[in-house]
Symmetry: C2
Subunit: 151 residues, 2 copies
DNA sequence: CTATCTATTTAGAATAATTCTAATTATTGA
DNA sequence: TCAATAATTAGAATTATTCTAAATAGATAG
């Protein structure tokens, strides 16, 4: 499988996204993005750093943070905040929410049929929402994560 | 206004909640809880520490963290995670979601008429959710927070 | 193509948030 | 009252993230 086949965004689309957000294309940004797309779990910046070094040994932690910032600001990657833990990164830009397993720590993408919409009436006058997010916490189906019952 | 009138939970209810979660009652836990209930904004642990010292000068930062943990685990307080920023604490246990203003940083409680329910069908077999959360980000109505337009 | 300007990368130091440690004190229950 | 256990405290330690200043690379004008 070629690199370009793996990525959802073509190089041109990727480049375009960066540019319209005022960023330049750099091999580091492309590489960090590819690393995220390769294994579509939800790694921490540190894990992205470790994985990125495999194909690009000179990359630095600061650059990984810079790249992740640029990708987030360009709308190519989502940030996932967890309670008192390192931020995770998600390259799946389709409408979905996150399920955080409190047993194993993994994060799962969950499809949403209706995209979460504000019941606008409920928002007091003057609030201008730009993003709505749904998240869940609980036990995942993995062995040992569903508590005592193991049917 | 007396202290007990301010709090939604009576001392007995408060005590009960702690006990059923395996915690003892302590004046520090009560105090930290009262501090949160007094000003119902969404302070950081550090802000809680500063406010707590006013009425209890000997309290330590470690104790504030310990107390907040115990309160969260007892279901008396909610934790609010933000992107790469200190965790906030919310003593409003009624069904609501959080609106985070990206201009001023304030967090607002927004009522939800329908409590967010999982479209269970959507969750792949085996996932056991224990909590569902909705959050919003955008501009609040405060002066200067709604971007350029100021109608 | 070359000079110049600016964005980006880099290593490492600095900061901020949170957790840990070990000693002391408070609470509980016999 | 006493022993057992939980909680508090100060400060050190750790972790995540940001900052800094120098080096490098990409874009643009001539
Ligand atoms: Mn995701
Ligand atoms: Mn709240
Ligand atoms: Zn799990
Ligand atoms: Zn605001």
């Amino acid at each position: 499988m070629s690199d370009s086949a793996k990525a959802f965004q073509t190089d041109e689309q990727f480049n375009q996204r960066l540019h319209t957000s005022g960023f330049r294309f750099t091999p580091q940004r492309q590489h960090v993005y590819n690393v995220l797309m390769e294994t579509r779990d939800h790694p921490t910046a540190d894990q992205v750093f470790i994985r990125s070094r495999e194909g690009m040994p000179e990359i630095s932690m600061a650059t990984v943070y810079n790249c992740l910032d640029a990708l987030v600001k360009s709308g190519l990657v989502r940030q996932v905040s967890l309670d008192r833990a390192a931020t995770r990164y998600c390259p799946n830009m389709t409408e979905h929410c996150h399920f955080h397993c409190t047993d194993c720590g993994k994060i799962f993408d969950i499809d949403l049929d209706d995209k979460p919409s504000v019941p606008e009436a409920k928002l007091p006058r003057g609030f201008k929402p730009e993003q709505i997010e749904v998240s869940m916490r609980g036990h995942c189906p993995d062995k040992g994560c569903s508590g005592h019952s193991r049917n």
